[in-house]
Symmetry: C2
Subunit: 447 residues, 2 copies
């Protein structure tokens, strides 16, 4: 039997795990610097928690876990007879796999509301599962990385999330542009165009601007029964590139002006901090059919064409779905997989990390093996990650192992080395080879 | 709708995540020091990979994931009509949740055998799922932490796994005893007692010694049709406490003598290294109905009565189940949950970690809030994890937040502080309060 993996899933090799850990650890240090704390939720949630939260399409993509034991004993008999899979599910499956980190977070906040201190600032980095058709770069299991604060409507949170984006990407060496808008500005746009009842239709059309261009957006709006006059007004507003220029256009929209005021506050605080990346007001940023109600964010790489590498926004009511209304919050997420791809493409991962073996001892016989065992202890004692090839087998085989593991330093020990205490020390990068006592080898590596 | 969690699963609060991360990060650093590298495998495996690997009971406890879409269209019609859950499963579910880390590791080694360099030294720390009846301290989702090397029969691996146990537990402050035996010694015992065909029965009985005492073991063996004479011989051997004393008893068992020789080699190398914990030959250690064939390990806390906190051993054939025979290896696992409980009970977690907020600014009005925003940037610039309470609301509310988050330092800013640049700096542990400029506050924290 030849083993395989379920479609859409994958293994992670040591190199991949180390690289992804580098990304995640780097980001976590930034989250913590800004006062965010980690939580973890179980992989399995009750289907009653998940169902209905992601639209009809989402419900279909949820992975459902079969009840243990004799699951048919409680199965819906009508559904069984009619071979109706959809109707049968709830009677044979109570649990599903986490589909995102937002719904479990909302559940968490509701369940522990009496124990939590608000504002509650949490980050969460865990895999999620979706039964999408697998395709290149798209998996059924993938990591999400979310940073949210709930229980506070202060715009300081927005400011700090921008700082977190900026510092997170900066530490990784990923250059980006952070685009900001506010759903109230979009609402103001609909009001100013005289189509407040067409807000969602307009927003969905604008959301496609990147892909279909301004003409496409206009056609899209026309298709959704937005009049020519309104479309012209929307276009005029979309061509506005500063908050100041927007104000007269929003003279009659209180919501629109509030959106502008909020953005101005965010930019006022941001102007006082050092940022490595550009932060830009982008009136065309819409974030689609989301539950956002205030500031919205999106991050794009300025080096690689790869789509958005981060996004988020402010919401009024995260936990209403679980009967706890009026909990405002704001959050962003980092696109771990795309960050990985960018860093791979631009060679941004550090050459050596503290996560791998720095030195390996290779030996010729039992005597030199036993000698190397002693030297190995000294080297590790000095804080160096080190290995001894576990037997004095054919030298070529040992060297092949050292090469394939990309170990930067090799120490070769045979009878003459044992006699003289001068060990053959080879730098595998430069090819340079020296005879040195063990303490000088340690000094050469520790530097 | 009041949300809840599936039975047997749990959330992890920030404090719990930080503590568990402390354990895992500490252990990982040790694994890496000894040349082990991480892999990660998907949560879902094909049921064809999992089924039959954990015995009949294990198959029942596997969580099975329902096929997406119209799963009934390919359902086994006979099983449906007969309402036969067990027979139906394979036709409506192709995937299951990871049950342990060993089978996925074996699958990994087989699938990537041509790319891996052997000996392949891997560690893996991921959750697994089992449909056991939930009870106190027993969950359906829990972390496993495995360290294995395959493709090498060198006893150096055993020596280093003992060092990893010793150093791992020592760094955590968990005092323990590391017990070692060898399945060949147990085989030799069966041979010496004249019951080589009753090896498994004898081993299963001995495995219960801790729980049922020597009399119990003897009764257990009698029940399994081991003769009185043989039982007496087994008891005599079990009462032997040194390898030297064992040799004459094993004079006629080549396997037994080989087991002794292997243990002697392991102890010879261990005698040359510094260990913090006792490593002890324990002839009564059996490790039950396992697939082990050589050295076996078990670790027990010497401070808390909690059962084994680690175990493992050498095996001849990890990957045979997937058609790749003769891959020897040896591995150990760390009992993360029990380590957590011990460290909690003995208060071994570090008081402050780099994972939490060290300083928070509390303010009285918009002016002092804006001032604090500037000071906040300086503090973070100095590498201090810091927060500004996001609005100058009632002071009591802000202080309550600082207290509940256990933030060790508080900086209070009002109009007089803004005027004088002398900020009120409070050490929340000692209660001490001072007026200091921001750079002295930074110096006080960084130390």
């Amino acid at each position: 039997m030849k083993p395989s993996l379920p479609k859409g899933t994958r293994d992670f090799s040591p190199e991949q795990v180390n690289k992804r850990s580098y990304i995640i650890d780097t980001l976590k240090a930034v989250f913590v610097k800004y006062g965010y704390q980690p939580i973890e939720t179980p992989v399995m949630e009750n289907l009653s928690t998940l169902t209905g939260k992601y639209g009809e399409e989402g419900d279909k993509l949820l992975f459902k876990v079969l009840n243990n034991g004799d699951f048919l004993s409680n199965a819906n008999k009508d559904a069984l007879e009619a071979l109706d899979s959809r109707k049968l599910v709830s009677s044979i499956s109570k649990r599903g796999l986490r589909y995102d980190l937002t719904v479990p977070f909302a559940r968490y906040v509701v369940m522990y509301q009496s124990e939590l201190s608000f504002p509650f600032k949490r980050y969460q980095v865990q895999p999620v599962w979706r039964g999408d058709r697998p395709q290149k770069g798209r998996y059924q299991e993938f990591y999400q990385c979310d940073v949210d604060v709930v229980g506070s409507d202060s715009l300081l949170n927005e400011v700090e999330l921008v700082q977190i984006y900026d510092e997170g990407y900066s530490r990784l060496g990923v250059e980006c542009i952070i685009k900001i808008n506010n759903r109230k500005v979009l609402a103001g746009m609909a009001e100013a165009a005289g189509i407040p009842d067409k807000f969602m239709e307009m927003t969905v059309a604008i959301d496609k601007l990147d892909k279909i261009g301004m003409d496409g957006v206009k056609k899209e709006m026309a298709k959704r029964e937005i009049g020519e006059d309104a479309i012209q007004k929307v276009e005029n507003i979309l061509n506005t590139d500063s908050l100041e220029a927007l104000k007269p256009l929003f003279a009659n929209s209180e919501t629109g002006l509030q959106g502008i005021a909020e953005l101005e506050t965010v930019f006022k605080y941001l102007s006082q901090v050092k940022l490595d990346n550009e932060v830009k007001f982008d009136i065309t940023l819409a974030r689609g059919l989301s539950y956002y109600t205030g500031t919205i964010f999106e991050v794009a790489s300025t080096q690689v064409q790869i789509g958005s590498i981060g996004g988020g926004g402010r919401y009024d009511d995260l936990t209403g779905m679980f009967g706890m209304p009026n909990v405002p919050g704001v959050g962003v997420s980092f696109g771990i997989a795309r960050i990985f791809d960018i860093m791979e493409e631009l060679d941004l991962f550090p050459e050596t990390t503290s996560n791998s073996t720095q030195l390996i001892f290779l030996t010729f016989d039992q005597e030199s093996f036993d000698y190397a065992f002693g030297a190995l202890q000294q080297v590790r004692q000095a804080g160096i990650n080190a290995e001894l090839y576990p037997a004095p087998v054919k030298f070529k085989k040992q060297m092949k192992y050292a090469n394939s593991r990309n170990i930067p330093y090799v120490c070769i020990i045979g009878s003459s080395e044992v006699e003289s205490d001068q060990l053959t020390f080879k730098n595998m990068t430069s090819g340079e080879q020296q005879s040195l006592p063990i303490d000088e080898i340690i000094a050469a590596i520790v530097g």
